[in-house]
């Protein structure tokens, strides 16, 4: 049984500093990592493989050649093989063009897949769209925000513990299906020396645009419905104003005066 885990190589934004002068991110020295949510998705796949026999995990990513590093981590952590979709023609893809390409790769290279796992979102773009879009393109049932994924012993259904606002729900659906994975209470795995060395001997297949036979108009920037126009940091909020050290009545008066001054209240409201 084949499980495809779609992953993304992202800048490690948890460690990024902001240039105090320009307010922009200091990209100097920022390294890229396997998107943490993708790693949780892989972790669910590895967990399934540890508990069932005959499971093959295929890690799939699209990106520049260095995105192969994200696949390498997947192979070290238990994926069986990797697929790196890389070509200048894929550059500038938005979530739709990315999902379209990944779906086509899965259809062609892993046609017999039973389950697709993705992270719930990537920590760089935070769109949470690619997973659901792949499910739509491949016409699959999808469950999002999973914190636990298990298969029935017949391998025909998937059971998912889904994070919801006030707790969790347990959902089941027939396979094939797509599940996007959240963190839950998972702690990241660490490869062993043995699995690290083994990972380096596992195959990574490279897929170019020409291997897919898709029209160029559906790939990369050309195939994108959206474009990034501008990236900017959110406006900083003004410092709050604290009224303290006054009797309650005086404090209320001071707050009232301030709100009036700022036109939140009309003079006549009292």
């Amino acid at each position: 049984m084949q499980i495809v885990v779609c992953v993304k190589h992202v800048p490690d934004v948890t460690n990024v500093q902001v240039d105090p002068k320009t307010g922009t991110l200091v990209r100097e020295g920022v390294r890229s990592i396997l998107n943490p949510f993708c790693e949780y998705a892989l972790d669910q796949a590895v967990h399934i493989a540890e508990n069932m026999s005959g499971v093959e995990i295929i890690a799939l990513t699209m990106g520049p050649p260095q995105a192969g590093d994200a696949l390498m981590r997947c192979l070290e952590l238990g994926a069986d093989r990797g697929i790196l979709v890389t070509d200048r023609k894929f550059a500038g893809a938005d979530t739709w063009a990315t999902a379209y390409t990944l779906a086509e790769v899965i259809r062609r290279i892993v046609p017999g897949f039973k389950l697709i796992l993705t992270g719930k979102q990537a920590i760089d773009g935070d769109t949470a769209q690619v997973g659901p879009e792949i499910a739509e393109i491949l016409n699959l049932p999808q469950i999002t925000y999973a914190t636990a994924v298990t298969l029935s012993s017949s391998m025909r259904q998937v059971r998912v513990r889904q994070e919801v606002e006030r707790g969790y729900e347990v959902l089941e659906c027939n396979l094939p299906a797509l599940v996007t994975v959240s963190r839950g209470d998972m702690v990241r795995r660490a490869p062993s020396l043995e699995s690290l060395l083994a990972g380096r001997k596992k195959p990574i297949e490279v897929v170019k645009a020409s291997d897919l036979g898709l029209p160029e108009s559906s790939l990369g920037l050309q195939g994108s419905y959206t474009q990034v126009v501008k990236i900017f940091p959110p406006a900083t909020r003004q410092a709050s104003r604290l009224v303290s050290g006054l009797e309650a009545g005086d404090a209320a008066r001071e707050i009232y005066d301030y709100l009036t001054e700022q036109h939140f209240l009309d003079k006549g409201d009292n």
Binding site: N15, Q17, V26, G29, I33, R188, P191, S192, L193, E194
Partner: protein, 554 residues
């Protein structure tokens, strides 16, 4: 060709600028200090001062110099404090004044030293190791962004443009420690295994003397003469003669007593002197080119297996490890318990369920390069009877950070347990050893620790710098009786470490709480030689009273 400067054993002090004594920021009166600024009366040793009447915050060298002169005139002793992260009470005032150097917090310059082909940072004493690390990482030094000095500006711009990343190798566990504090204590950390202690990275110091004048001491300029003497010329014309002690230091990490060796460099006398000879206000340290790393925790069946693997790893010439650390089986049992109660608090995969010990090490590693070192490592681990599948490996920076947090978790856990027990028995405290011995005695020392602690039925864990034969044994007493038994055991360990040519203090220093052990290591005559150096530079005993030497007044 670098300019050749003749070496000499004579150094001339320089006068500092004057400031208005009354302008120096201060808090007066013990009760005021205790109620408003209690942190200045203690440090990480948890020793607490019962008497300090003045707290000063000099903001520059002129104020510091003026303060020293005024206190000297009034014969008020001064205890100098940095981040107060020391473990032996060095910055806890015995009496008199506490002088916080926290305003000395600027990086002064970054420059490339051509003869030594290395980048160097000049910084004031209170720049923290953490702040220095962040500035180097981001290549952004706020004080140098503002500098108007053309040479400094040019060097800083050159540093920023350098494509290579640099770091400062000494890594004491507590990163809030200051550069100055780490220099006067010759601080160590895990990476001392490869890079040596702080001493190896110090290139120059500015030291204020007890008369308020200062010495600029670069490395490689002032050496003891054939009789072991230095001459310090004060501006008044007075000459201080310093005779260095004639004992030999152990072949281990050592922060017990003043550094000495025939023909020694004067800078080494001040490094590790715990601030009893002078006040360090500025340091120049060297940086090193950063390499990508691989960290690994290898689980083994027993503590003895860990000792065996350590010896094997140390012998392997084709592997260069940055650090080589140890977790005893009882240490991992303690962490396993914490992990079972709250898995996310440990932040690591589950520890093996069965009883295991571990060796934790780091080495240079290029994930895109040659895998031969890893294959060699795998072979070596297998030959020692351990299983490379029972290990954790990390090489991405975020993963390395996670492993680093894990490394610090054990001492924090021990401290939390002791704090909890103290609520019921206030007299209890953790007993943490800091002994190191030469390589050939590692197994013997470990055997002594095990048989003694187990024989006494004590609760204990062991961890730390096994690569330097410097394992920290932490005894967690449950009763006052166990506390006494633990103390007696500690003394036995210290005596034996000395008998095996080791050190009673490998990295924590002596301060106020390990003086008894210092006397196990040095004879009365050798102690007198140290005291002679102290008296020559600080005749009235004004600097850090009660540190290294007993406080004669108290």
């Amino acid at each position: 060709m670098p300019e050749l400067v003749p070496v000499t054993h004579e150094i001339h002090a320089k006068p500092a600028l004057f400031a208005e004594f009354q302008q120096i920021r201060r808090v007066e009166g013990f009760e005021n200090i205790r109620s408003e600024y209690p942190g200045y009366l203690s440090d990480e040793s948890k020793l607490a001062s019962r008497s300090a009447d003045l707290l000063f915050f000099p903001k520059n060298e002129a104020e510091l110099s003026t303060l020293i002169r005024e206190m000297a005139r009034q014969k008020v002793p001064m205890t100098f404090a940095g981040a107060r992260t020391g473990l032996v009470g060095g910055s806890v005032p015995a009496r008199g004044a506490v002088v916080s150097l926290e305003c000395f917090d600027q990086v002064t310059s970054i420059g490339y030293d051509e003869p030594y082909a290395e980048w160097r940072v000049v910084a004031q004493a209170s720049v923290s190791l953490k702040a220095l690390g962040s500035m180097l990482n981001a290549r952004h030094v706020p004080s140098l962004e503002r500098t108007a000095e053309p040479d400094q500006k040019a060097q800083y711009e050159r540093f920023k443009a350098d494509k290579v990343a640099y770091f400062y190798p000494p890594d004491p566990t507590e990163t809030s420690a200051t550069l100055g504090g780490s220099v006067v204590t010759n601080a160590s950390g895990a990476r001392t295994y490869r890079y040596g202690p702080t001493r190896n990275w110090v290139r120059s110091l500015r030291v204020f003397l007890a008369n308020g004048e200062y010495l600029d001491v670069p490395r490689g300029r002032y050496f003891a003469d054939a009789q072991g003497n230095f001459l310090v010329h004060l501006t008044s014309g007075k000459v201080i003669e310093l005779t260095i002690p004639d004992y030999s230091l152990p072949r281990t990490k050592c922060t017990a007593g003043f550094f000495t060796e025939p023909g020694m460099d004067l800078i080494d006398l001040f490094i590790g002197s715990e601030g009893v000879l002078g006040v360090v206000t500025q340091v120049e340290v060297a940086l090193m080119r950063e390499e990508s790393k691989l960290s690994m925790v290898q689980f083994v069946d027993s503590d003895d297996e860990a000792v065996k693997l350590t010896s094997r790893l140390r012998q392997e010439r084709n592997l260069t490890l940055d650090f080589l650390e140890f977790y005893s089986a009882n240490a991992l049992s303690l962490l396993r318990k914490v992990q079972q109660e709250a898995p996310s608090s440990v932040g690591m995969p589950f520890l093996p369920a069965e009883k295991v010990s571990a060796i934790f090490f780091e080495m240079s590693y290029d994930p895109h390069g040659d895998h031969q070192p890893l294959e060699l490592l795998e072979k070596l681990i297998t030959e020692c009877g351990a299983d490379p599948a029972r290990s954790w490996v990390a090489y991405e920076p975020r993963e390395l950070d996670r492993f680093k947090v894990f490394r610090h978790l054990l001492p924090e856990t021990v401290n939390a347990i002791i704090a909890e027990r103290k609520k019921n028995i206030p007299g209890l405290y953790k007993l943490g050893t800091d002994l190191a011995v030469p390589d050939e005695y590692l197994a013997d020392l470990w055997h002594l620790y095990q048989t003694t602690c187990d024989g006494l039925g004590l609760e204990w864990v062991a961890f730390g710098h096994i690569g330097n034969n410097h394992i920290h044994v932490n005894i967690l007493p449950r009763t006052i009786e166990e506390q006494q038994a633990g103390l007696a055991a500690y003394e036995t360990f210290a005596r034996q470490a000395v008998a095996w040519s080791g050190s009673v203090s490998a990295e924590h220093g002596i301060g106020k709480i390990k003086q008894k052990f210092l006397r196990l290591m040095y004879s009365e005559d050798q102690m007198a030689q140290m005291k002679h150096v102290k008296d020559a530079l600080d005749p009235d005993g004004l600097f850090n009273p009660g540190d290294i030497f007993p406080d004669e007044v108290a």
